[in-house]
Amino acid sequence: MKVEQLSVFIENRPGGLEEVTRILKEGNINIRTLSLADTSDFGILRLIVNDVNKASQLLKENGFRVSRTQVVAVEVPDRPGGLHSILEVLARANINVEYLYAFVERSGENAVIIFRFDDVDKAIDLLERHHFTILKGEKLYSL
């Protein structure tokens, strides 16, 4: 039920991001979704891609610091209150969200929220008990 996310360390400078996307393009890697956390000096680019192993290898070969992190992808109806319904459950159970990002599925009916939790298993267990749809990695990579 977990999804593998790639995190790439990049310096906050012109062209930093472009290098990453060029490497992925040349490796024929498709980016499903991404987010960029930034500070004044550096950023962490987080990616869900169609081929985690290949993308990770390519970036490492080009000298990037890459880490793989377990995240959870939750599908919710794309309408007001969709995200809130998840966060409500998490808050009540006192589960902390480290970060999240989201995208809308191609059909336009559902949104997918990518969550990073401290305790991934506990979060999955809780969300399943509340009947949320958790996407499998394979499904997400091939969306």
Partner: protein, 437 residues
């Protein structure tokens, strides 16, 4: 103006005779009281009696910073601790400082020489001196303080830091003289302006600046912004502290080395050979009168040149030009001496980092900046893809550097391969400051 008319204007012949007499004494004393000198002279097969002229000085072996470190803390002292009345220290490469000691008479000599400096700058006992050199183990604060008191001027022992309070005191106490590092003087000017203070209309008229390299351009800037006459002072704790050499208000070109207390030589830093007077090289000092911590041919690593032409002020003491650089890799950041190896030693302790780093020194506005670029290790990033984890690593390294070295550095995580790999000689330090324009 001259504080000690007799000794500061001694005809060269008499001055050299005095130097020789004192040199013989100090060499004899060092040989018999400091184990290091006995060993080092014996190794070269020279005896104190072999010193018959000033030229014979060059037969003696050098003393280096490493020798002082090897004899840490008190091994170079020539008197028992019961005769020592003060200890000072400067930073060293391995975190061990270089310790220096002073007898009553040494403090007396130092005060006297600092008083000479003040008078050379045109300061009198009616002046109020704002002393913003750091008080403490660093020699700047107390060295200047004692000289000011010797002269009979009024000292404000403000020490370094707390810039807003300094500006308030500059306005309210109306000091006429300021002593600090040149970069701090410009920092004060800038902060004062930001506070809406007209820094050019303060009562200040003279500034005595040292402890870090600075340029003629900086002098002009300080003089304009503070509306003062800015003069250069030289010293280092090993030799004594501030007051080894001082620029005179009349000449404003080079600092008179108090030759009745010190002998200066210039050497080629590579070969160690003496250079003809006037050529640019590394300054080597021998102390002639120090009791507690005599130094024979101490290699300062400071690059400068001696000015041989007589000065219009009437002093017969030789002058040295501004320090133009260092023959080792020591960096002077906001008056603090730092060796890249000290930074390296700290970084190598941090297991979250790769063993590559780069040190970038620059000057933003008027303050030296120190940036340390490091690469986060693969294994660490693998477990930490969060901004807060990486930022706390940056902060931890910054705190370590502040704790060990006393300077604030900006620690910047960079992508791997940004930093040059050591292939033979890696360029670890980039000094972007343009001091010697």
């Amino acid at each position: 103006m001259i504080y000690d008319e007799e000794f500061e204007t001694l005809p060269r012949e008499a001055l050299e005779a005095l130097q020789l007499k004192r040199l013989k004494q100090v060499v004899m004393r060092a040989y018999h009281t400091v184990g290091f000198y006995k060993r080092s002279f014996d190794r070269t097969g020279i005896k104190p009696d072999d010193i018959k002229s000033l030229q014979d000085l060059s037969k003696l072996p050098f003393t280096t910073k490493q020798d002082l470190r090897d004899n840490y803390p008190f091994g170079m002292f020539a008197v028992p601790m019961s005769s020592i009345v003060r200890l000072h220290a400067s930073s060293g490469t391995t975190g061990r400082p270089t310790v220096v000691g002073y007898t009553h008479r040494d403090i007396d000599t130092w005060s006297e020489l600092m008083a000479r400096c003040f008078v050379a700058a045109g300061v009198t006992k009616t002046d109020i001196i704002h002393n913003a050199y750091q008080y403490g183990l660093f020699t700047g604060g107390l060295g200047v303080h004692y000289g000011a008191e010797r002269l009979g001027a009024s000292v404000i022992p403000i020490s370094g830091g707390n810039t807003k309070r300094q500006i308030l005191i500059l306005q309210d106490f109306g000091p006429t003289v300021i002593c600090c590092t040149p970069s701090y003087a410009l920092n004060l000017a800038e902060q004062g302006r930001a506070m809406g203070v007209d820094m050019a209309s303060l009562r200040l008229r003279v500034g005595i600046f040292g402890a870090e390299p600075w340029s003629e351009e900086m002098r002009k800037q300080i003089e304009n912004e503070l509306n003062i006459s800015a003069l250069n002072i030289y010293g280092l704790s090993e030799i004594m502290g501030p007051g080894v050499a001082m620029e005179c208000a009349e000449g404003r070109e080079g600092m008179h080395i108090f030759e009745d207390h010190f002998i200066v030589e210039t050497i080629d830093p590579e070969t160690g050979h003496n250079l003809p007077p006037g050529e640019k090289g590394e300054l080597v000092f021998t102390t002639l009168t120090k009791e507690a911590f005599p130094l024979i041919r101490y290699r300062t690593r400071d690059i400068s040149r001696l000015i041989l032409t007589p000065c219009r002020c009437g002093r017969t003491h030789i002058r040295m030009d501004r320090v133009m650089g260092r023959s080792d890799d020591m960096l002077i950041i906001r008056g603090v001496n730092i060796f890249p190896s000290q930074i390296e030693a700290i970084l190598l302790e941090v297991k979250e980092l790769e063993p590559h780093y780069q040190i970038i020194v620059d000057r933003e506005g008027n303050l030296d900046t120190l940036e340390i670029q490091v690469e986060v290790s693969e294994s660490f990033f693998d477990q930490a893809d969060e901004v807060k984890v990486l930022q706390s690593l940056e902060r931890r390294i910054q705190r370590d550097i502040k704790d060990y070295l006393g300077v604030t550095a900006k620690v910047k995580l960079v992508e791997p391969r940004t930093l040059q790999r050591s292939e033979g000689k890696a360029r670890r330090v980039i000094d972007k400051r343009r001091i010697m324009a």
